[in-house]
Amino acid sequence: MAEPLIEVDGLTVTFPSEHGHILRAVDDVTLQIAEGEVLGLVGESGCGKTTIAKCLAGRVVPSAGHVRFDGRELSVRRTTEDRRAIQIVFQDPYSSLNPRLSVRHVLGELLRVHRLVPQDEIEARLRELMGLVGLPKGALDGLPSQFSGGQRQRIAIARALTVEPRVILADEPVSALDVSVQATILRLFEDLRSRLGLTVVFISHNLAVVRHLSDRVAVMYLGRIVEQGDREAVFSDPRHPYTRALLAAAPRLHQVELVRSVVKGEPPSPINVPAGCSFHPRCPRAEDKCTRDRPALEPVGGCPAHLTACHFRDETSAEQAP
């Protein structure tokens, strides 16, 4: 991998919880993201994927660890340039846009505040942005309520692009959209990445979407990355039992039989993380040592492009089948 654009090192985020407990949303996460790549961050609700994105964007202050961007350490108080460089697109385009402001107002304000283009070129730039996200110029004068879900998400993406970011953090950007329009938004991300060379962190619980779009994938469970690697390595040869369970449970168009649920129970509370491997209470492969020793995120078969945090990472799924 070339020099990474973003380096996350030992990132930990804790929140105070009821009765003096501490909630570990993100627990010692180390991650590199190369310039121009799409990193898929997968996991179920509450696993910490959104918190990581918020840390990268500077919206949440980490309790420990560092975030380096373009070779520099990002401090808690970011410069305007650093904030511009990393932008978020949220899940729900119905609540992330101000209903009282026209598209022109929102985007125009950004251009003026950040002095991105001279006053007389603002209109041209606004039109260019609309073109970039595949909306007609007339959309500039609309209010969010006049647009469909897919169009609103395009507006939200245009807003992120207005400040010329280098990284887009897309937090479940197609989850609130109907299937028939999801494809157009995914296409838009592919398109933006190839045209603008954007780096994308794509957060989703939907494995099909992540497999489609990502170059590399990181799977999270209870605040930790349990498996990480090139897309095909992770999807065609998953080594963590949790990744396997997620894959088995993913909805499929042509499934004849009911999926037998592979994992028992529900994720434990991040306030009270199990000792040892945090997945062991639900894991079909767990042994005694899993309740004591927490496995580190290490290469599978010595391959640095595929890391797994499991004591049995070198067993293939055939070997693990009962």
């Binding site: 299937v179 995914l186 494995l207 497999r211 449970a249 649920s261 592979v262 994992v263 529900e266």
Partner: protein, 333 residues
């Protein structure tokens, strides 16, 4: 043998501002004892309203214009709040909603909420109702039911809340379970568990299921029959495997082409052009015609209803034979 549930020509009108539109426009189907039907469609297609109309729980701005719901040969009154003839047949049906947190009473323990129907509908005593509630908590797979009886909804996880919803639905001993996207708000590993529970209830208690979802991926897991809904109508119905493998309505075909599948990352999803029409401005002819690649002039004027295209397989499209030909020639998506 008469089917357990028959829905005939259901038409629901909804008010929006001053205007009235048809949210459900002539939906009919029959469900055998122990059978399951999945109704699939995108937001606003009328799938949830269909379920509510069957249950007699239409919102205030909705009205059942025509159509009948027949359970075991008895026609139900249009409104569940009524007390007319056939009212007791309504108890043969229960509904499970998508958002368990807002469907549950936040200030009552889940045990009391489950015990309510056994006590006041089935007429059990206090103790018997409580025992029944604990039994149901166990049945839906909640560990430690004695203790969980006293829990409040906010103390439970999303998956457990949905199990409580199912327990409440089962508490009146229904023959039919109407499910409105019961797993949409849940994580996939929990979704699998809930779907397995529903399958178990079907096979062990002979429960019939009407399952509304927007996710084509879960359809084949829950039901052997599927109905695809668009602008208030069923546009294609048939055996699930056949409809998904060889769709005969362009909308079904479009949905399949737009969907992503974990197993085929090379499949490039293709969106359906255009967007859902405004239900207040539906023109005559086929409502999918403006977005349809197969549309011809005829589609503008002909009001197509479901027509059989194979055994148990129907599509509301003038060009369903063209789709079959495309399928045969191997032009997918």
């Amino acid at each position: 043998m008469t089917p357990l549930l028959e829905v005939e020509g259901l038409v629901v009108e909804m008010r929006r501002h001053r205007a009235v539109f048809r949210a459900v426009d002539g939906v009919s189907f029959a469900l055998e004892r122990g059978g399951a039907l999945a109704i699939v469609g995108e937001s606003g297609c009328g799938k949830s309203i269909t379920l509510r109309a069957i249950m007699g729980l239409l919102p205030n701005r909705g009205r059942l214009r025509s159509g009948r719901v027949i359970v075991d040969g008895t026609t139900l009154p249009a409104d569940a709040r009524g007390r007319g003839r056939g009212h007791h047949q309504r108890r043969r049906m229960s509904i499970v909603f998508q958002d368990a947190l807002s469907a549950l009473n936040p200030v009552a323990t889940v045990g009391n909420q489950i015990a309510e129907a056994p006590r006041y509908v089935l007429g059990l005593g206090r103790r018997a109702a409580r025992a029944r509630a604990i039994e149901l908590l166990g049945l839906v797979g909640i560990p430690d039911p004695d203790r969980r009886y006293h829990a409040y909804p906010h103390e439970l996880s999303g998956g457990t809340r949905q199990r409580v919803m199912i327990a409440i639905a089962l508490s009146s001993d229904p023959a039919i379970l109407l499910c409105d996207e019961p797993t949409t708000a849940l994580d996939v590993t929990i979704q699998t568990q809930i779907l397995a529970l529903l399958a178990e209830l079907r096979s062990e208690r002979g429960l019939s299921l009407v399952f509304v979802t927007h996710d084509l991926g879960v359809v084949s897991q829950v039901a052997e029959a599927v109905a695809v809904m668009y602008t208030g109508r069923f546009v294609e119905t048939g055996p699930t495997a056949e409809v998904l493998a060889a769709p005969r309505h362009p909308y079904t075909r479009g949905l399949l082409a737009a969907a992503l599948d974990v197993d085929s990352p090379e499949h490039e999803p293709v969106a359906i052009p255009g967007s859902l029409p405004d239900p207040l401005r539906l023109a005559g002819g086929c409502s999918f015609q403006p977005r349809c690649e197969f549309a011809t002039g005829q589609c503008l004027t002909t009001d197509v209803r479901l027509q059989l295209v194979g055994p148990g397989h129907a599509a509301a499209c003038l060009h369903s034979d063209v789709l079959a030909a495309c399928q045969a020639a191997g032009h997918h998506g």
